[in-house]
């Protein structure tokens, strides 16, 4: 360990990491998918006959042909047909009502509903052969008009499912607000915001390798929820869960996008069983850019009412959400935005309405922030507009409205119960770190200097939710003491870069009072840890961490009780210290836990631990400079103050916060999916067309934190890692609005490309219309 600051580092830095595509399984076949090049259409023909004759191709099937695939005599499968894609049951991300009558076939049957939808699967001796075969599949589709925005799709002039509305889900949070509130308020801000579709873009695309062995199937996948994947694969195959093992090797990033059973996964598992051979699918980037799940995707309308002193009276958020072509993964996801609409303010009336609308795009699903960025951006942009209208400093406006630290737990009008917070402290630290007053002075100076580019300062205060939703706030863990003096911790989490192997053993070791080198972590294998929920909603430190700490304390209790029996003394007369037990009174030598295990047998605690929701928060500030002639935005400085309660490892949390800020900058300034008039994404040049931030775009970023522990667990950790995606975008956009003093907030829609900014720079200023 002497060279390495994380346990993960040695293998990942020496090329010894093992991702799914690195697995070497003799006889493994590669799958390639034939995909639709239109967004919407009637599927007339899929002919795989030529593809089947291509050398090295083992088979090529459309949906219809797979139904006729003869059962492999050696296979234990009794599958008759390729099962459809399952829907997400977790956290109301999807609902039975929304998916009723709307099957998501793994391979399109008679209708294509999004560009890239799979039409056929080709399996070859290697990927070159599989792709050779895929190139020979003949497809005929009669195009239909496509709808790629929720507002257009909601009119139902083009229906994705005949006889059913495109509106697949309606929801609301809070009570509707009476018209008199708006009428009587001193000021009402109204605005429309577009939360553009984003691509999560982990560096490793999706991958799955399915290996049938005897009567079991092992699925290797870079995945956030191995136990969910096991459960879903078992259901799809009609097998008991015990016959499925899911193993998560190293995972090259996920950001929320790797937690479902996707169509390709279903096909691969099905084919591995039917062919009784290992089959893998390793998505390539261009494929991923077409058919990996999207994030965000909301058209929002807001109304924000305040009195003349800037005290908030009411806030209304109306969301038309783009959930993609099938409601299966994220039709309910926009409710995360609705439930978090209140933000950090003590607004007495808040109402959020959601319409989830099917469009001819790939499915929307959680992406880092998952509904909370959309809530924070809408509210925080509106707060800055309100501040400008009232002539109140935006920091002061926020201070006047924050929920007071004395008011926690705080029940919001939109149904959340915030656990703890000190929002003003985070804002104050952000302002001080930024030198807010200094930048305001610089802004004034530049306004009087005709040669200076305008600068703008933007603030964004957020509160988010971590841990999950009721019914999914628990985790399964175990802690075991070995005869050799080591400890083994197991948990249901599944990391994709979050340093669990370093952080969790250190936490368990700290609880025991032993050296961290004595503790090892096992996760990501459903055979080694039979139950688990996984890593999503920033929950691993908060929930798994608290669970492991709890299990370790239970193991200490067990050790004391066993020693008491061994020594014939009451348990309260046995003390625990640094991995040993010793009698409190007689001063005899301590017994190492390893000795106790040898003397009394295996010692292991299995725990199902229930946490509560936690509400991390923070304040982000950005300073930008605009060139009105070029429409370019140069970010001069970003300060991010985040509060995630107890921090388990400052280096890791800092790294998460920093990387998250950069993804937030990506949403604000660069990332977006343009569509042609037929609804096909204009991304022919891949990552040259979809502009992820590179080092060239990274401004000076300063990460700071305050610490307000969560009262919901003894550990006190809240989620970290999504903060930048939630807090940073509005700070950037507000800074641009501040520089340009645009009267109409609707003109600044993300991403703030030079075109958007150039136009906004020519629009009427606030002072020109007042």
């Amino acid at each position: 360990m002497e060279h390495w600051s994380r346990r993960e580092d040695e293998r990942l830095l020496t090329g010894a990491g093992r991702y799914v595509a690195d697995m070497h399984v003799p006889g493994c076949l590669d799958a390639a998918f034939v995909r639709s090049d239109v967004a919407h259409g009637i599927l007339r023909e899929v002919d795989c006959s030529v593809a089947c004759e291509v050398p090295g191709v083992v088979g090529a099937w459309s949906a219809a042909e797979l139904a006729d695939l003869p059962e492999c005599p050696r296979s234990a499968a009794t599958l008759q047909d390729l099962p459809p894609v399952p829907h997400t049951l977790l956290a109301r991300l999807s609902t039975e009502e929304a998916v009723a009558g709307r099957e998501w076939p793994v391979l399109a049957k008679d209708r294509v509903r999004y560009p890239g939808e799979a039409l056929a699967v080709v399996v070859g001796e290697d990927r070159y052969r599989a792709e050779d075969g895929a190139a020979e599949v003949v497809v005929r589709i009669d195009p239909l008009p496509a709808v790629v925005s929720p507002s257009a799709a909601a009119a139902d002039s083009v229906r994705l499912f005949d006889g059913l509305s495109n509106i697949a889900f309606l929801g609301e949070a809070g009570e509707p607000i009476e018209e008199s509130v708006w009428r009587e308020a001193a000021v009402v801000v109204e605005a429309r915001y577009r939360q553009q579709l984003l691509m999560p873009t982990p560096m490793e695309c999706r991958a799955i390798l399915c290996v049938p062995e005897h009567d079991r199937l092992t699925g290797w996948s870079g995945h956030q929820m191995p136990h969910r994947l096991r459960r879903e694969l078992a259901a799809l195959l009609g097998w008991p869960a015990e016959r499925i093992r899911v193993v998560v090797p190293d995972t090259g990033g996920a950001f929320g996008s790797k937690s479902a059973a996707f169509p390709e996964f279903v096909a691969v598992a099905f084919l591995a069983v039917r062919l009784n051979r290992p089959v893998r699918w390793v998505e390539d980037r261009l494929e991923s850019m077409l058919v990996a799940s999207r994030g965000r995707g909301q058209d929002q309308r807001v109304r924000l009412a305040a009195d003349a002193d800037g005290r908030l009276l009411a806030y209304e958020l109306t969301i038309d959400a783009d959930v993609g072509a099938y409601p299966h993964l994220g039709v309910g996801l926009p409710m995360q935005t609705a439930w978090m609409a209140t933000g950090p303010y003590a607004t007495p009336r808040v109402h959020a309405g959601v319409r989830s609308v099917l469009t001819n795009t790939m499915v929307t699903y959680p992406y880092r922030g998952a509904g909370r960025p959309e809530a924070a951006i809408a509210l925080e942009r509106s707060m800055d507009v309100l501040a400008r209208w009232l002539g109140i400093d935006p920091a002061e406006l926020r201070r006047r409205n924050f929920i007071s630290p004395d008011d926690f737990p705080y029940q919001t009008p939109t149904g959340r119960r915030y656990d703890s917070g000190n929002y003003a402290a985070a804002l104050d630290l952000a302002l001080q770190t930024l030198d807010y007053d200094g930048w305001r002075a610089e802004q004034d100076r530049r306004r009087t200097d005709p040669d200076a580019l305008p600068v703008g300062i933007g603030l964004s205060c957020y509160v988010e939710r971590s841990g999950g939703e009721p019914g999914g706030l628990h985790e399964f863990v175990s802690v075991e003491a070995g005869e050799d003096g080591t400890f083994t911790a197991r948990c249901g989490a599944s990391p994709s870069g979050q340093s669990h192997e370093t952080v969790f053993p250190a936490l368990v070791a700290e609880t025991f009072g032993v050296d961290a080198a004595r503790v090892r972590l096992v996760e990501g294998d459903t055979d080694a840890q039979p139950d688990g929920l996984g890593s999503f909603a920033s929950r691993s430190a908060q929930v798994d961490g608290a669970a492991l700490q709890h299990a370790a304390t239970l193991l200490i209790e067990q050790a004391r009780e066993r020693a008491a029996v061994l020594w014939g003394v009451p348990a309260q007369e046995v003390a625990w210290s640094h991995g040993t037990v010793h009698p409190v009174r007689d001063g005899s030598a301590a017994m190492d836990l390893a000795e106790l295990v040898k003397a009394t047998g295996p010692m292991r605690v299995d725990d199902r631990f229930e946490a509560g929701m936690a509400f991390p928060f923070g304040a982000h500030a950005a300073v930008i400079e605009v060139d009105p002639e070029l429409g370019t935005v140069r970010v001069l400085r970003v300060v991010a103050v985040d509060d995630c309660g107890r921090v388990l490892n400052p280096m890791v949390v800092h790294g998460q916060a920093f990387g998250s800020v950069v993804q937030g900058i990506g949403q604000a300034l660069y990332e977006g999916i343009p569509f042609d008039q037929d609804g096909v994404p204009l991304l022919a040049n891949g990552l040259l067309d979809y502009l992820l931030p590179t080092f060239t775009e990274i401004p000076p970023i300063e990460i700071k934190g305050t610490c307000t522990p969560s009262p919901s667990t003894p550990l006190g950790a809240k989620g970290a890692g999504e903060s930048g995606c939630i807090g940073t975008p509005a700070a950037i956009v507000n800074a641009v609005a501040d520089a340009l003093r645009v009267a109409d907030p609707d003109l600044l829609q993300m991403p703030l490309t030079p075109d958007v900014v150039w136009r906004a720079a020519r629009a009427p200023k606030l002072e020109e219309i007042q």
């Binding site: 600051s5 090259g252 990552l687």
Partner: protein, 160 residues
């Protein structure tokens, strides 16, 4: 087509289809899976290796183009005694990796540049150009920049 690659000092006589890209041959034929494919169209740089000392995107180069050439991958960074390369130490010290998928590419881009001229550590713009050539989605790049600067400072033979 029969070719010979020298990878990390070891000779690999190979029979490869002319269309196979270097990355696939390294990963599948040589079983050196430390080189990762992140985009397969030459943008992200995760697959960067050194061919005859120069950094190349191994997804954009055919293996047959390297016939007789010398390839260095992340597996060949550490010293013969297993001593970590200064970049490997620095990346860990600066927390310049999280998921680790893009890491081999950044390491090889930096290794190629530093081994030609360890003095680049004195030139922030050249380091910025190196970091700006690849994509990372986890770290936000700044730790990678710091790691390269640190490795340059700690380069063997550099005055401290």
């Amino acid at each position: 087509m029969k070719i010979t690659l020298t990878v990390n000092g070891e000779q690999y006589p190979l029979d490869v289809e002319p269309r196979r890209v270097l990355a696939d041959v390294l990963r599948e034929d040589c079983r050196l899976t430390g080189t990762h494919l992140g985009c397969e169209h030459g943008v992200c740089g995760a697959c960067t290796v050194l061919v005859d000392g120069r950094a190349v995107r191994s997804c954009l180069m055919l293996a047959v183009q390297c016939d007789g050439g010398s390839v260095r991958t992340v597996e060949g960074l550490a010293g013969p005694d297993g001593e970590p390369h200064p970049l490997q130490r620095a990346f860990s010290a600066e927390h310049a990796l999280q998921c680790g998928f893009c890491t081999p590419g950044f390491l090889m881009v930096a290794a190629g540049a530093l081994e030609r001229d360890p003095g680049i550590g004195d030139d922030p713009e050249r380091v910025a150009a190196l970091v700006g050539s690849n994509i990372c989605r986890c770290t936000g790049y700044e730790p990678i920049r710091r790691a390269i600067m640190r490795a340059a400072r700690e380069w063997p033979g550099r005055p401290t």
